[in-house]
């Protein structure tokens, strides 16, 4: 694997950071939301906030698939493994997320449930083929990037006539979540939540293209820059957003031209469209019920749909009342505004969705950035901004 260091060149970073400082208008503030948890992670991991001037602020959006999965659906996955006795295959960072009564897939595994970590949904299909006497369920989560592989594995299972394999589908959609944020009262009521532009996730756009964002640029007059996940990509995108604001433009620009086109990947889009359909509504942890924001498996593939194959009970679960994740995901509050942050809510003992995965805003802030708020760790009574 090559070209890792090239996109992390400190000297080039300082050059771009210097341009941002020079070009950012000192008379105003810039508030940009990085939608995706991968960007949040990169921003904190590489210390990007230190390179930005004080008046350029990043708001951490809801694009962390682990964070936004509501507790009842996680409980249902645990139930599949425990009560129905299936081999439940999941991506790694979902395993530790606590559901109701702090129960996680890892804990269920320790209690004897057959929970397996896979790197690819194809591994889950292989497990099904290797264990024909067992039911195998793939716990599918993620945005547009992980959806085409799930579609492909369902088609492959059909082609190979694998009868003991099904998918518990929890795929969600990026544009719907961005709409939800832009339609939130805080954004619509001018001035409550300043939101000047978006850094869009490049890997999502390698699938859906740049096109779905044109609507946000036109309708809401918010510039969008589609950016890669290397720290230089993120810095460059911030510079491009500053320039758009300064020049009064609200366009969709593509920083990640090395892989993203306007149309995206037509083959991936078509297999997704053939395999899945929109859910009328879907609950997001932190955002609440968002209309037309998630996918379910089409009737034609019902035999591969774990929700149809097994009776899964969705019991409602209450979040901690003091948890500010909803406001943090919409960019209204920052992690340090939450009275639970750091005590008792930590990555080891996450109470809210933003603390559960390293891509969540609270976890990234806690693990990488809390030195910035030195008073905070020693003084829990830090006043909310």
């Amino acid at each position: 694997m090559k070209y890792v260091d090239e996109y992390r060149d400190g000297e080039l970073a300082r050059e771009i950071a210097a341009k941002i400082r020079t070009e950012a208008d000192p008379e105003r503030d810039y508030h940009f939301m990085e939608f995706c948890g991968g960007h949040t992670h990169a921003i904190f991991r590489y210390g990007i906030p230190d390179l930005l001037p004080d008046n350029v602020k990043m708001i951490h959006g809801p694009g962390c698939p682990v964070c936004v999965l509501p507790i009842p659906r996680l409980d249902a996955a645990i139930e599949l493994a425990v009560t129905h006795g299936v081999i439940l295959c999941s991506y790694g960072d979902m395993l530790r997320v606590p559901g109701s009564r702090k129960r996680s897939l890892l804990k269920a595994k320790a209690e004897g449930a057959d929970v397996r970590m896979v790197y690819s949904c194809m591994d889950a299909l292989k497990i099904a083929q290797d264990n024909p006497e067992r039911e195998v369920v793939f716990f599918a989560i993620g945005f547009e990037t992980t959806t085409p592989p799930t579609a492909l594995v369902i088609r492959q299972a059909e082609k190979l006539n694998v009868k003991n394999f099904s998918v518990y589908c929890n795929h969600v959609l990026t544009p719907a979540a961005i709409s939800n944020i832009l339609e939130s009262p805080e954004v619509r009521e001018l001035g409550v939540l300043p939101l000047d532009g978006f850094v869009g996730p490049a890997h999502v756009s390698t699938v859906i293209g740049a096109q779905p964002y044109y609507y946000f640029a036109e309708e809401y007059q918010k510039p969008v820059v589609i950016a890669g996940f290397e720290p230089l990509d993120v810095l460059q995108a911030i510079l491009m957003l500053v320039r758009q604001i300064n020049e009064g433009r609200a366009e969709v620009e593509n920083e990640f031209s090395r892989a993203v086109t306007a149309e995206g990947n037509p083959q991936a889009k078509s297999i997704v469209a053939d395999t899945f359909e929109l859910r009328r509504s879907f609950e997001w942890r932190g955002l609440g019920v968002v209309p037309y924001s998630a996918l379910r498996i089409k009737e034609a593939f019902a035999s591969f749909d774990a929700e149809k194959r097994f009776t899964v009970d969705y019991r409602s679960a209450r979040e901690n009342k003091a948890c500010e994740c909803g406001a943090i995901l919409r960019g209204v509050k920052s992690p340090r505004d939450c009275s639970l942050f750091g005590d008792p809510c930590t990555p080891e003992n996450p109470l809210g969705s933003c603390m559960v995965s390293s891509e969540g805003a609270c976890a990234a802030y806690y693990s990488y950035g809390r030195y910035q708020e030195r008073t905070f760790a020693s003084d829990k009574t830090h006043p909310a901004a």
């Binding site: 694997m1 890792v4 992390r8 400190g10 970073a13 300082r14 950071a17 991968g38 992670h41 904190f44 991991r45 590489y46 210390g47 990007i48 906030p49 230190d50 390179l51 698939p65 682990v66 991506y91 790694g92 960072d93 979902m94 395993l95 530790r96 890892l106 397996r116 970590m117 896979v118 790197y119 591994d123 989560i141 993620g142 945005f143 990037t145 992980t146 890997h203 720290p231 990555p347 080891e348 995965s357 390293s358 891509e359 806690y366 693990s367 990488y368 950035g369 809390r370 030195y371 030195r374 760790a377 020693s378």
Partner: protein, 348 residues
């Protein structure tokens, strides 16, 4: 060594398997000891075949450390559980500045485990012990039923003696100390991960599993003012630095650009969604010394084959919150926090 016991046929080390009787205390166990363990580990203490080893120690403070090894897979690029079980304990003893001298070895074997694999492991342990200059002076073997173990577990305990005038410990780490590492980080963890059944990727990375006692002996000889040594095994560099920061009630500032990580390890961590600072090492150490001795210590380390890639990676700072911070190669700053449970790969 004793040759008094007679057995009707020799142990089938080629096709034989571990059986329950090998741990039952009877003749089969005696045969396993006589034909496998004794010839491999032979020394004046073990050969007496008592239930314990009786030995003299030179004057000085005695150090004792214990470590259990449950690694999967048992054989990996750059080592195996046998060598690792020696290296792990020898290094724990050596991190006090002590010269490791004696080891005990406890085996828990699973019924059905191939004797040829056990032989390979035992020979590898013997070679590692010889290389480190330690004697395996007492041991124990138990066998558990099939399905109740993972082939072979090994627990070792080591004893050593600290040279006069040397006193190492986390409590001695002070503000202004320099932080050094003895070489590239993350090699062991990535080598192991590349072999896990659900992660098939090819790599030329080998585990760094090795005994560091000779490197340590040189370091304490040349720089007796050394404050603390620790080997960053599970939890990687980040766990070690955070542990010491809390024990010494200090902070730390490290510099990403100065931390040696092989490009292959960097690449593997990149596509697995892992951080090399959290990945395990089995043949590296972290050293803390007064700033004015850092150059001499670095030179001493680099002159030794086990410290060839040594580097100064940062310094100890005053910080009542005990934060470990890192200036990224990119130019910003970030926390290097404790790892939260096992490192799990990110989805995207």
């Amino acid at each position: 060594m004793s040759n008094q016991r007679q057995f009707s046929s020799t142990l089938d080390l080629k096709n034989g398997k571990v059986e329950m009787v090998h741990g039952s205390g009877g003749k089969a166990m005696a045969q396993l000891i006589d034909e496998l363990f004794l010839p491999a580990f032979s020394n004046q203490w073990l050969d007496q075949m008592n239930d314990q080893a009786c030995f003299e120690l030179p004057a000085g403070r005695v150090v004792m450390a214990t470590d259990s090894h449950v690694i999967s897979p048992l054989f990996f690029p750059g080592g195996d559980i046998g060598a690792l079980s020696v290296h792990g304990t020898v290094n724990d003893v050596a991190m006090s500045g002590a010269v490791p001298q004696y080891l005990s070895a406890g085996f828990i074997l699973e019924e059905g485990f191939p004797l040829c694999d056990l032989q390979r492991i035992v020979h590898s342990m013997a070679a590692a012990a010889e290389e480190a200059g330690v004697a395996i002076v007492t041991g124990d073997t138990k066998v558990v039923e099939r399905g109740k173990g993972d082939g072979c577990f090994i627990s070792t305990t080591g004893v050593g003696v600290v040279p006069q005038g040397i006193s190492l410990g986390a409590d001695r780490v002070s503000v202004g100390d320099k932080i050094l590492v003895s070489g590239t980080l993350g090699d062991h963890g990535v080598a192991i991960m590349s072999l896990r059944e659900n992660l098939t990727f090819e790599t030329t990375i080998e585990s760094d599993s090795q005994s560091l006692d000779r490197l340590v002996a040189n370091m304490v000889k040349e720089v007796p003012e050394l404050h603390c040594l620790r080997d960053p095994t599970r939890g990687g560099l980040s766990a070690t630095l955070n542990e010491i920061a809390q024990q010494a009630n200090v902070g730390m500032q490290i510099y990403e650009a100065d931390i040696p990580v092989r490009s292959q390890v960097k690449a593997a961590c990149e596509f697995l969604g892992l951080d090399p600072l959290f990945v395990a090492n089995e043949g590296k150490l972290v050293a803390f010394c007064p700033a004015d001795k850092a150059d001499l210590l670095l030179k001493t380390m680099q002159e030794h084959p086990q410290g060839r890639d040594a580097a100064v990676i940062g310094e100890v700072t005053e910080d009542t919150l005990n934060f470990v911070q890192m200036q990224t190669a990119f130019g910003g700053n970030r926390m290097v926090d404790w790892i939260n449970g096992e490192q799990l790969p990110r989805i995207c």
